[in-house]
Every structure is written in structure tokens, then in C-alpha cells.
């Protein structure tokens, strides 16, 4: 962490907001109901679009008869796939760095064939959504059902027809890794444990559903798109490409966004169709997904089956890991980030906390007639963590070793960094040992074990589960750019000082409710030297912010934050230089603190910023000759030293299993994680807690259930169970701080750590509770039925 000219670092500037739990500036507005989500954006002559979606998992479209619907009350247009294709070109979700990844061209509205239940193939635009839905019911469609590929286990069988004939089979991507001498390690091992883990397909459920409002102003040549989305510049680029518009003709605005979790960073057919319809109809068109179509059309994730084995020495050293991952991704690889990323992450991350040197992994990604899957919070991490942590616990129990001691023995030591993980990932500085030590103390591990033992004697079955994990954050261009995706890995911040001393910061990372704008305001206030209430942050507007990647992969604070810090420092230098000229003082002797120019040494105020602003903006005639103030500064930042800033942590779960009903009660959860500099403890801790709850959702509750014909069986909030407050445990969070030296602020991401480790901690705790009964679960979500089956009771 470098010191600036005034000799002060990021953390110890006199008016530093860093490391303080300041409330985020936008919270009050949202709590007062004054948020502006897409559905709140007013527009004259607005058309509401509703989509006709496939009721079949796979079928040929023989005919779509729209004449009657076109005559229905309020209907503005009924548009088929073929008609829309004249305006919007298809896409293919592949990238160069996933060698061999294949998919097929996907249209905004399916033309000849529908490939999952929920795929849109016809659109109705009407004066109201209700009228559009009325008209949908009047469209007559003739389907020719085709065989559906539903089970990923048989998707590659020679007898299974390929979903896309031109691909020849249903294998979209395969990756293999073989490091060291895996066979020898297993041959020489004292103990080998093996398990097959199943991960239920689930999805991110946002409070605000996917929503988009597109308005084509022909006179301006401008398509303005209000979008509930994470990456406005990516959307702008893709709209230009597929609607044949120049860059300046598309403005994407992501004002308030009600949650995203990775769901809102992909290209969706219905959203592209909405923009194309606005062009076609020359009027604003709005699409707001309702909850039923969200379950059918939002991306799903996590549909994996992993068979894995781990080799141990008699003393409990992990010697080798060998795993085979199979995942089903739906009928298309999702554009533009692709659906190969989750499996790829599983290969990169599994066993990542540990120091074994022999590792073999194979991942196969297959196509199937279900909703497409793609990146959702903690992409691949919960799978990788469960596989390794489940095997570590299995090994510990077979060897009669304590699971915490087993981890202490095997993690990469804190003094070994920088180094590479066994999969080849580059690790700058992790802190597994410190995190384990802190967790052990925080949870009172030994006392908890004693309590568990005494309760077991009374027939109460409690379990303690641990999960060490690593998390990918702050991605460089290695994530997407190198593969050809036009997704910026660089972000920028422009900061302007106004006459009264107010500061406006435009930032290219975005806010979805996690507090990005709050973090940026803290950093800008600290860097410039003004009170935080003087800072206004603008985000989510391609026309008003620097170009950048947006918020995903836990990059907002670490990358956007560093850009804001650098821009703030640059602005402060500009301001101090002008102040020096006016005060006839050496700029190096001056500083900006708390909204005033001060003497750096003594802290004595020399001039308030409002006076400086008055002179600069209104009495420039009194400035010394040759002085041209620049009260705007822009800086960009992209990580270059490492492809990713890995973070680490460890979680623990304490549960009680009712061995008659199979119900699991979550008693307590702990997480120690290391995201480097903690910019705002309140926001970081709530990110961790929210992430843990989302991870618990996958572990115990959430599951997109399909039948053998590819019908989604539980697509509503009544039967798709999101985790709710009543079932959640208290969650204690603590930190180890290992700042990245790639940036001055030293912050890594914290958005996905909770989700990465929670499922493994909970499932390990359940298995710990069941151990005396010789029962074991390995299928998520762990429903009461799964537990009862493991116990042999049903």
C-alpha cells in the first residue's frame, strides 16, 4: 500500500472512510420506496410485450397462426421468430479460450424449432400486459414434438439424438487436466475414499425480475434501453452488433436493480426481442418477466454430478485428487460468457486450499432440453468446495482424525505464497492457517465437540461441518477478453469537483443492491478529501460513465474501487496545484481534508473548497497567468499482475438432524474470510451473510425439478423453495486481511465467498450428525426425503 505525496496511505488519511461501517447513501431512498426500477420508468406510447413460450422440451414448429391475435383489443403487433430475425441477428455462445466449445446459432425468437420449456417463439405487443396475454391465448400453434434430451447421464449415449444435428452429438465442451502422477499416488495411498456428489439444478431468484424497456427515438437515432442488468456496456456492444446499430446509437441505463446474483449478466432472447421490437415498432416496448416465466427462462446453474476420489497417507496427508464432472447446460451455451465456465471453474478450484501435487480432473458439458444454465453467484465454487471438503471429511473419519486438524495439516501454509495451486492457478497471498485458527476460536470448536458428544448420548443428533474454500475475484482480461468476448475487464471513474465543493463521481461498475455506490462514495471522499455527504455517485449509464465491465465475479470494489481511488488522488493533486497557485504556496505543502485546503503539516485550514470553487469557476480572471484548473479527473484500472485475485476462507455449520423426520435445523453458522482490505465491514459482512443464505438455499431447499419429458415441475414461489429468514441460523463473520499488492487499495472481492462454502459446511455437518447412524448424504438439496433415504427409513 503506497503512501501518497502527503505521506498518508489509503487507510490513514485524516478523513478516511475506509474500514468504517458507514451506511450506504442510496439505502434511504430505496427504503422510502423511491427507487427507480425498470417498471417504474415512465414512457409515453408504451407497448407491453408478452411472449408465447414453448410448452414442449423439444418440438418442431409447424405453424404459428397469428391473424386472430392481431385483431384482439389493444394489440399493437404480433411478431414471429422469422419476422424478428429480419431485425435481430442470431448469436452463438462460444469463446476462443474454451477450446472445442460448441453451440448452435440462437435466435431472439425461435424460428423452426423450440428446445426447452419456456423458450420464446412469438411476441405480442399490446397497450397492456393483460391485453398482450389475452392475445397470446388466441395464437394457434402446431407443434411436432421431437425426442427430448433430459437426463445428462444419457445425453452422450450413441442412441440419444443430438439436439443440434449439425453438432453430431450433445457434447458441448470437455476439459481434462492431469497433474503429477495421480495413478501412482492412489496406488501408494494408505486410504482412498470415493463419493459421487449430485448438485441440484437451481437458479437465482431476484426480488426484481428481469426487466427491460427499449425506446427507439428515430429522430435522434438513439435506442435508449432501461435494463435491470449488471453490465451496461456489454449490453450496449451486443445490441449494436445484433441490431446493426453504431455504438453511439445505443444507450443502456441500469438505474436501480433489485438483485442480480449473476442472473442479469447474460443475453436473454426475450430481452433482445424487446429491443428489436422497439426498433420495429418505433415506440417504447417494455418486458417485465413475471415469476412464472422467470423460473422457465432465467438461467439455471449447478446441475452437476461429480464422482471423485481422494488419496491419503496414514498420517492424514492429502496425496491426490481424481474427479469426473458431468454437467447439463440446456440446449445452448449462453451468450456471450458461455456455459462452459462453471465446469471449467470446478476443474480449476476443486481442492484449491490444499497442497497435494497430484490432480486429475475431467469435466464434460452436455446439451439437454432444459432451461439454459450459466454463471450464477459463486460459479462452480460450491461444487468444487463440496467435492473436496466432502472427501476430506470422509478421509478424516476413516482415519479417525479430527476434521479441523485434518485441514490444518493439509492447507497450503500461509508463508508459502506466492505460489501456484495444483490446477495451475496463481495464488498471490492466502491465509488458510490464520483463517482456521480464527474460526476455531470464534466457534469454540472444542467446547462444541464436547457438547455434541454429550447430546449424542441423549439421542440428539447434532453435527459440525467445515468447509475451507478459495474464491475467484477481481478478474483480469483472462476471464473473457482473451477468449474474444467484448466484455471490459478495465473500469474507470471520472470525478468532478463543483463550485460549492460537491463531488460527482461517475463509475463504470454497477449497483444491484450490494452497496457498490456506497463503497465508491467512501473511496472518493477519502481520496479527494471531502466529507462523504458531498459525494454523489453515478453508475449504470453508458452515456454518463467511463467505459467498463460492470459488476460480476466480485470485481466491483476491487477494480472499480481502485479506479475511484486513483481518480480521486488525481483530482486532489489537480485541486491542490491550483490552490497552491492562488495561495502562493508549494502544492506539496498543501492537502485536501474534509472539504478544505489545509496545510499538510499542521492541518490548519487555508481555504475552504467552496472559496476555491468560487474563484475557479466564477472569477477565473483573478487566477495567476497560465493556470488552467482541471477539476475533473479520470482514471482506469485493470488487474495485470495476476489473472485473478484469489481469496480464501473457511466456514462452519452446526446443525441438528431430526432422525425421525429427516428435518435439518440450522443452529449456527460461522465464516472467516480474507477479502484483503475491508472497505466497509457492514457491507462486507452482509455480503457474506447473504451469500451464505444463498448457499444454504442450494444445499437444502432450491431445486428446479424436471420430469422425464423435460417439463419443469415446480416453477413458482409456492413450490420452488428459496431460503427464508425463519429457517436461517445466526451467522457470525470474521476476517483475516491479506491485501492484494496489485492495487493500492488492496481490496479483493467478497461477493461470492458465502455461497462458495456454505453448502459444503452444511452438508458436512449433516453427515457429521448422521455418522453414528452409519448414514451419509451426498445429493443436494438435502431434503428430509434424502435424509430419510440415507437412514433407510423410507
Amino acid at each position: 500500500m503506497s503512501a501518497d505525496a502527503s505521506g498518508l496511505t489509503f487507510l490513514d488519511r485524516p478523513n478516511s472512510y475506509i474500514g468504517r461501517s458507514v451506511p450506504r447513501p442510496n439505502a434511504r431512498r430505496l427504503l422510502e420506496g423511491r427507487g427507480v426500477y425498470v417498471d417504474d420508468v415512465p414512457a409515453a406510447r408504451l407497448g407491453h410485450v408478452a411472449f408465447l413460450r414453448s410448452p414442449h422440451a423439444h418440438a418442431r414448429l409447424l405453424s404459428v397462426e397469428t391473424a386472430e391475435a392481431k385483431g384482439m383489443p389493444g394489440v399493437l403487433a404480433v411478431v414471429t421468430g422469422a419476422e424478428l430475425a429480419a431485425i435481430c441477428t442470431p448469436w452463438v455462445g462460444v469463446l476462443g479460450h474454451f477450446k472445442g466449445l460448441r453451440s448452435a446459432p440462437q435466435h431472439a425468437l425461435a424460428i423452426d424449432r423450440v428446445t426447452w420449456v419456456g423458450e420464446p417463439f412469438c411476441a405480442v405487443v399490446a397497450r397492456s400486459r393483460a391485453e398482450a396475454e389475452d392475445a397470446l391465448a388466441a395464437i394457434a400453434v402446431e407443434f411436432d414434438p421431437l425426442p427430448a434430451v433430459v437426463d445428462m447421464e444419457t445425453a452422450l449415449d450413441p442412441g440419444t439424438p443430438p439436439i443440434h444435428a449439425e453438432l453430431g452429438d450433445n457434447l458441448a465442451f470437455e476439459r481434462s487436466l492431469d497433474v503429477g502422477d495421480v495413478d501412482a499416488a492412489f496406488r501408494d495411498a494408505a486410504l482412498v475414499v470415493e463419493e459421487t456428489f449430485q448438485f441440484g439444478r437451481h437458479t437465482g431468484v431476484c426480488l426484481e425480475p428481469r426487466a427491460i424497456l427499449a425506446d427507439w427515438a428515430a429522430a435522434d437515432g438513439l435506442l435508449t434501453v432501461h435494463h435491470s442488468f449488471q453490465a451496461p456496456h456489454m449490453m450496449q456492444d451486443i445490441l449494436c452488433k445484433h441490431l446493426a446499430l453504431p455504438e453511439g446509437a445505443v444507450r443502456v441505463i441500469c438505474k436501480d436493480v433489485g438483485g442480480s446474483f449473476g442472473i442479469k449478466v447474460h443475453i436473454y432472447p426475450d430481452e433482445m426481442a424487446t429491443c428489436a421490437l422497439a426498433l420495429m415498432l418505433k415506440r417504447p416496448v417494455k418486458f417485465v418477466a413475471d415469476r412464472l416465466e422467470s423460473f422457465q427462462s432465467d438461467i439455471h446453474a449447478r446441475d452437476h454430478r461429480v464422482t471423485a476420489r481422494m488419496a491419503f497417507s496414514a498420517e492424514g496427508d492429502i496425496l491426490a485428487l481424481d474427479m469426473d464432472d458431468l454437467t447439463g447446460i440446456g440446449p445452448y451455451s449462453v451468450y456471450p460468457r458461455t456455459s462452459a465456465v462453471e465446469a471449467n471453474q470446478v476443474v480449476n478450484l476443486t481442492g484449491g486450499p490444499y497442497r497435494h501435487r497430484h490432480y486429475r480432473a475431467r469435466a464434460r458439458v452436455v446439451l439437454q432440453n432444459k432451461a439454459p444454465t450459466c454463471q450464477y453467484r459463486a460459479v462452480g465454487h460450491p461444487i468444487a468446495t463440496m467435492v473436496a471438503e466432502g472427501l476430506v471429511d470422509l478421509g478424516a473419519s476413516r482415519l479417525g482424525l479430527d476434521p479441523l486438524a485434518m485441514r490444518e495439516r493439509n492447507v497450503i501454509p500461509d508463508d508459502a505464497y506466492p505460489c501456484a495451486g495444483v490446477s495451475g492457478i496463481k495464488l498471490e497471498k492466502l491465509s488458510h492457517q490464520a483463517a482456521l485458527a480464527k474460526l476455531k476460536a470464534m466457534m469454540g470448536y472444542d467446547a462444541l465437540r464436547a457438547e455434541q458428544a454429550s447430546l449424542r448420548a441423549q439421542g440428539i443428533h447434532r453435527g459440525i461441518g467445515l468447509a475451507a474454500f478459495i474464491e475467484i475475484t477481481n478478474p483480469s482480461a483472462a476471464f473473457y477478453g482473451v477468449g474474444g468476448a467484448r466484455i471490459s475487464s478495465q473500469d474507470g471513474c471520472t470525478i468532478r469537483l463543483d463550485p460549492q465543493g460537491g463531488v460527482v463521481a461517475a463509475i463504470s461498475v454497477t449497483e444491484q443492491g450490494q452497496g457498490t455506490e456506497g463503497i465508491i462514495a467512501q473511496i472518493v471522499a477519502t481520496a479527494v478529501g471531502v466529507p462523504m455527504e458531498k459525494v454523489r455517485v453515478i453508475s449504470g449509464d453508458t452515456q454518463a460513465t467511463p467505459y467498463g465491465g460492470g459488476t460480476w465475479a466480485s470485481r466491483g470494489a476491487g477494480i472499480g474501487g481502485e479506479a475511484a481511488w486513483q481518480a480521486g488522488k488525481a483530482l486532489r493533486a489537480n485541486v491542490v496545484a491550483v490552490a497552491g497557485a492562488i495561495l502562493q504556496a508549494d502544492p506539496a505543502s498543501l492537502d485536501l481534508r474534509d472539504g478544505a485546503v489545509v496545510d499538510a503539516e499542521s492541518g490548519t485550514e487555508r481555504m475552504p473548497l467552496s472559496e476555491l470553487g468560487r474563484i475557479v469557476y466564477f472569477r477565473s480572471d483573478t487566477l495567476p497567468p497560465g493556470v488552467q484548473p482541471e477539476f475533473v479527473a479520470t482514471r482506469h484500472y485493470v488487474p495485470k499482475d495476476y489473472p485473478f485475485a484469489f481469496t480464501n476462507g473457511v466456514q462452519a455449520s452446526y446443525v441438528e438432524v431430526d432422525v425421525q423426520t429427516g428435518f435439518v435445523r440450522l443452529l449456527k453458522h460461522w465464516c472467516v474470510e480474507d477479502c484483503g482490505t475491508v472497505l466497509n465491514p457492514l457491507l462486507v459482512d452482509e455480503q457474506i451473510r447473504g451469500g451464505i443464505v444463498q448457499g444454504i438455499g442450494g444445499a437444502l431447499f432450491e431445486h428446479c425439478l424436471y420430469d422425464a419429458e423435460g417439463q419443469l415441475l415446480n416453477g413458482s414461489m409456492a413450490d420452488y423453495l428459496v431460503p427464508m429468514a425463519g429457517e436461517m441460523p445466526d451467522i457470525e463473520v470474521a476476517h483475516v486481511v491479506s491485501p492484494t499488492t496489485s492495487s493500492e487499495i488492496g481490496a479483493k472481492g467478497a461477493g461470492e465467498a458465502g455461497t462458495a462454502g456454505a453448502p459444503a459446511a452444511v452438508v458436512n455437518a449433516i453427515n457429521d450428525a448422521l455418522r453414528p447412524l452409519d448414514a451419509r448424504v451426498s445429493r443436494q438439496p438435502v431434503t428430509p426425503e434424502v435424509v430419510l433415504e440415507a437412514l433407510g427409513l423410507v
Binding site: 397492456s128 393483460a130 431447499f701 425439478l705 415446480n714 413450490d719 423453495l721 431434503t783 428430509p784
Partner: protein
């Protein structure tokens, strides 16, 4: 999704409401608390031409006691059922069931009459009505009918209500001084529909139990009185009661849970409720008049 267009009427009297239902036939649907109906409208699972809102009709809500019977007006909100002093004092089974009904916002709006008329087999009030020997009072265009709960719930969302009839009240006889009760429900999350639930009443009889009524919910197409299991409990044989459920319950399998698992859960909660009832039977002062958890 958005509901298709419908007409809306807000009659000020029961007679006016009944006249509207008679005039519009099956195209008209009464609206009580709207907690199930409005969802069904928005999902386009139901598309009536006319909603007849019962909320402005005086006299349909409220809990009263007379002549050994507690009368709960059909438009009494779930929350108000459980909060009524006479319910808390004399019908603690209902008070115990209340927190299991969905969430506070739904309990504040939904009504007991709406719940009984909808007859969702996984909900609490119909089973409680069975366990307590309630009578469902309905009004049609011609006359009032009084239907025993055992004759009222006929199948999945199916009741003895005739077209044009409205549920006006649920009447529950005050339990005798030696009554005991038990209630158990298993749901994945607090407020979810029951995977298996049981509302039970009985009378103490010389350290044992008599007049046992076991009303299961969530394990069939309607709330089910398990008579053979009840007889086994009266005989003091809980295991036999659990075994008897195999013939008495025919739980549905669904994507969330197999039928066999639901049956298993029904047996587990029967064991727990039987324990509660038997503990109540062996304790003086633990009765329907008490305010404990049934034991």
C-alpha cells in the same frame, strides 16, 4: 401474468351477494380474503366473469359463543380467529394451528370461510374443523344449510357447497372439561403448505383416552379422519395406530416428496401427537380449557 378482465361487485348484504351469484351462475365467484383466488386469477388458472366481494357485508365476521357453541363468522380473518379470547380459552387447538398458516400478511387478510370453502387439502382449518366436530353453515338463495365437517370436505378443492351457496360461519361445539388436544405440522419452511399435519382431539378416560379424533392434512385429497388409528390410540397401542395409517391414508406423491415418505412423516407426527394426548390424559388440569401446548 396479469388477470384477464373481470367485473367486480361489492354487495352490501348477503341477500344481494346471493342474488348476484344466482344471476351469474358459474361465471361468478365470491371473493373473501383473496389470498388464493387472486393468485389463481393472476396465473390465469381461473377466469370468472364476475367477482362478488363479500368484504362489505355486515355481520359475516366475528367470533361469539352461545349455548355451548363457538360461532366463527366466515369473514373472520385467520389472525382474528386465533386471537379471539374464547378461542384462546376454549379452543386452543385453533390457536395452536394459527401460526402454521402461511405468513402474517396472509393471516391478516385470509378468512376461515374462504379457507373452508376452498378446501385445500394441505391447509390447517379444514383439518381442525374435522378434529373439533365443526359444522359448516352455508346460505343459498333459498335457505341456510348446516353441514357437518365430515360431510363437507369431499375431495381436492371440492366441498358440499352447491352452486350459488356461500359459507357464512363455522360452528364448533365447546369441548368438555376432560378434553385434550394435539397438533403437529411438518413443513419445509415456516408457513409452507404441510408435508404432513395432524389436528387431534380426545377425552381423558381413566388414565387413557376416548373419543379420539385424528384429522390428518397434507396427506390426501382432503383432510382425513383416521378412525382405525384413533381406535388403536384409544386401546393404548400407538404402534398399531401408526401401522393402521397404511390403510387409512393414501398420500399423493409429488415432485417434492414421494408418497411413502409422506406416510412415514404422518406416522412420526402421529407418534408425537399421541404422546401429547396421552401425557394430557395422565395430567389433571391439562384440557381443552387449558392454554398450554395440549399437554
Amino acid at each position: 401474468m396479469k388477470a384477464p378482465d373481470f367485473a367486480y361487485a361489492r354487495p352490501a348484504s348477503l341477500d344481494e351477494a346471493l342474488a348476484l351469484l344466482a344471476a351469474h351462475g358459474e361465471d361468478a365467484v365470491p371473493l373473501a380474503g383473496g389470498q388464493s383466488l387472486v393468485t389463481a386469477l393472476n396465473m390465469r388458472l381461473s377466469a370468472p366473469g364476475l367477482l362478488v366481494d363479500l368484504n362489505a357485508i355486515p355481520g359475516l365476521a366475528g367470533v361469539s359463543e352461545a349455548d355451548g357453541v363457538v360461532r366463527i363468522g366466515a369473514m373472520t380473518r385467520h389472525r382474528d380467529v386465533g386471537a379471539a379470547p374464547v378461542v384462546r380459552a376454549r379452543l386452543p387447538l385453533l390457536a395452536a394451528a394459527l401460526p402454521h398458516i402461511a405468513h402474517p400478511a396472509i393471516r391478516n387478510r385470509g378468512t376461515i370461510g374462504g379457507s373452508v370453502a376452498l378446501a385445500d387439502p394441505a391447509t390447517e382449518w379444514p383439518a381442525c374443523c374435522l378434529a373439533l366436530g365443526a359444522t359448516v353453515v352455508v346460505r343459498g338463495p333459498e335457505a341456510e344449510r348446516r353441514i357437518a365437517a365430515e360431510e363437507f370436505f369431499l375431495g381436492l378443492y371440492t366441498t358440499a357447497l352447491e352452486p350459488g351457496e356461500i359459507v357464512t360461519a363455522v360452528e364448533i361445539p365447546l369441548p368438555p372439561a376432560d378434553a385434550v388436544w394435539g397438533f403437529e405440522e411438518l413443513a419445509r419452511r415456516h408457513g409452507d403448505y404441510a408435508l404432513a399435519g395432524l389436528a387431534a382431539t380426545a377425552r381423558r378416560s381413566g388414565g387413557g383416552l376416548t373419543a379420539v379424533r385424528l384429522a390428518f392434512f397434507g396427506v390426501g385429497d382432503r383432510p382425513v379422519l383416521a378412525r382405525a388409528a384413533a381406535a388403536a390410540i384409544e386401546a393404548g397401542d400407538v404402534q398399531a395406530a401408526q401401522a393402521a395409517l397404511a390403510d387409512e391414508l393414501d398420500p399423493p406423491g409429488d415432485p417434492a416428496m414421494r408418497a411413502a415418505t409422506r406416510l412415514h412423516l404422518a406416522r412420526v407426527i402421529l407418534g408425537r401427537v399421541a404422546g401429547t394426548l396421552l401425557a394430557g390424559a395422565s395430567m389433571a388440569g391439562a384440557s381443552m380449557a387449558g392454554d398450554g401446548d395440549g399437554a
